[in-house]
């Protein structure tokens, strides 16, 4: 495994572990063996590493599955987007199109991602527009992503998407 792969795997592990703790609040204080039995009772290899690296087969909650899929697509998209300046090109990359393909289920995930980005919102406006058909951004705010994010948060509140 290269160093890059190792780092990616570590990050994935952290995301998966966080998801487990959110999904199973009592598990944070459990032993490794208990975690293994609770989460992956059908796993034949009683190793904590195995439980952390194969979560899609173990996690059954659809909300968590959607969230994990979304986060993976976000990571893939950012990697493929690289130093692109073209909004058009980055919005047509496969991971971004897959996020759009998630449909309305992606709206709360995108809004949460946008909120977590604070003063440096990323390019989620194309996806929000494509999924919802809405355009709450004033023409004078085009290109100002901080203001555009605020317009979408207001739209979400009005439409009942606020979390």
């Amino acid at each position: 495994m290269t160093r890059t792969q190792s780092i990616t795997a570590d990050k994935t592990d952290i995301i998966m572990l966080t998801a487990y703790v959110l999904l199973y609040p009592g598990i944070a204080g459990a032993t490794s063996q208990q975690q293994q039995e609770t989460i992956c009772s059908n796993t034949s290899e009683p190793s904590i590493d195995a439980s952390l690296t194969s979560p899609p087969d173990c996690v059954v909650d659809p909300t968590t599955k959607r969230w994990l899929r979304f986060q993976n697509l976000v990571d893939e998209w950012r990697h493929e987007r690289g130093a692109m300046s073209s909004i058009t090109e980055m919005a047509t990359l496969r991971p971004y199109q897959n996020i759009i393909g998630m449909g309305e289920e992606a709206i709360p995930l995108i809004l949460a991602e946008l909120k977590s980005e604070g003063d440096e919102p990323d390019q989620w406006f194309w996806a929000l527009g494509a999924i919802t058909g809405a355009n709450p951004v004033s023409p004078e705010d085009q290109g100002n992503f901080a203001k555009m994010a605020q317009a979408w948060f207001k739209w979400a509140e009005d439409e009942g998407h606020a979390g």
Binding site: G82, A91, E120, F125, W126, Q142, G143
Partner: protein
């Protein structure tokens, strides 16, 4: 590598050829930076996400980019050497699958004769020659434009 961009995207950028001059930011891009601002992302996308100067066609074409900078007083010129009293920009592009050249990047010449570029969502940099940002993402130089230095 001096910045946070993927090195394979810019094979000609290294510690000897460029210097990072800002933190990474998703607020603005190269087209805005070459136009002299750092608060908006300029792009003529059909969804109206990016800023584009009023009355300039929102089309991802070299012609539209030339028209956008013309709205700021730039005119096409033949070369990018440092000229007293002139401010120059360079527009980059690469061929798409149908053979058309699509714009990808813009850089601004500094008074020293060096160039400055914002690399997508990463940092902006000062690079010694205009072609240092050539590569798989931005393609290569398409044209120069100039205006009286402001």
């Amino acid at each position: 590598m001096p910045g946070s961009w993927p090195p394979y995207e810019f094979p000609h950028l290294n510690d000897d050829t460029c210097e990072v001059t800002s933190e990474a930011s998703r607020r603005y891009n190269c087209v805005a930076w070459a136009a002299g601002e750092n608060i908006r992302w300029w792009w003529p996308d059909p969804m109206g996400i990016g800023y584009w100067p009023p009355d300039v066609p929102r089309a991802v074409t070299v012609e539209s980019f030339v028209a956008a900078y013309a709205a700021l007083g730039y005119q096409l010129c033949y070369e990018g050497s440092l000229a007293a009293g002139l401010e120059k920009i360079a527009i980059f592009g690469k061929e798409n699958q149908s053979g058309s050249v699509v714009p990808t990047h813009a850089a601004l010449q500094l008074e020293s004769g060096e160039w400055t570029s914002k690399l997508g969502p990463f940092e902006d940099i000062r690079h010694d020659t205009v072609d240092r940002v050539n590569g798989p993402v931005y393609g290569k130089l398409v044209c120069y434009m100039s205006r009286p230095r402001q």
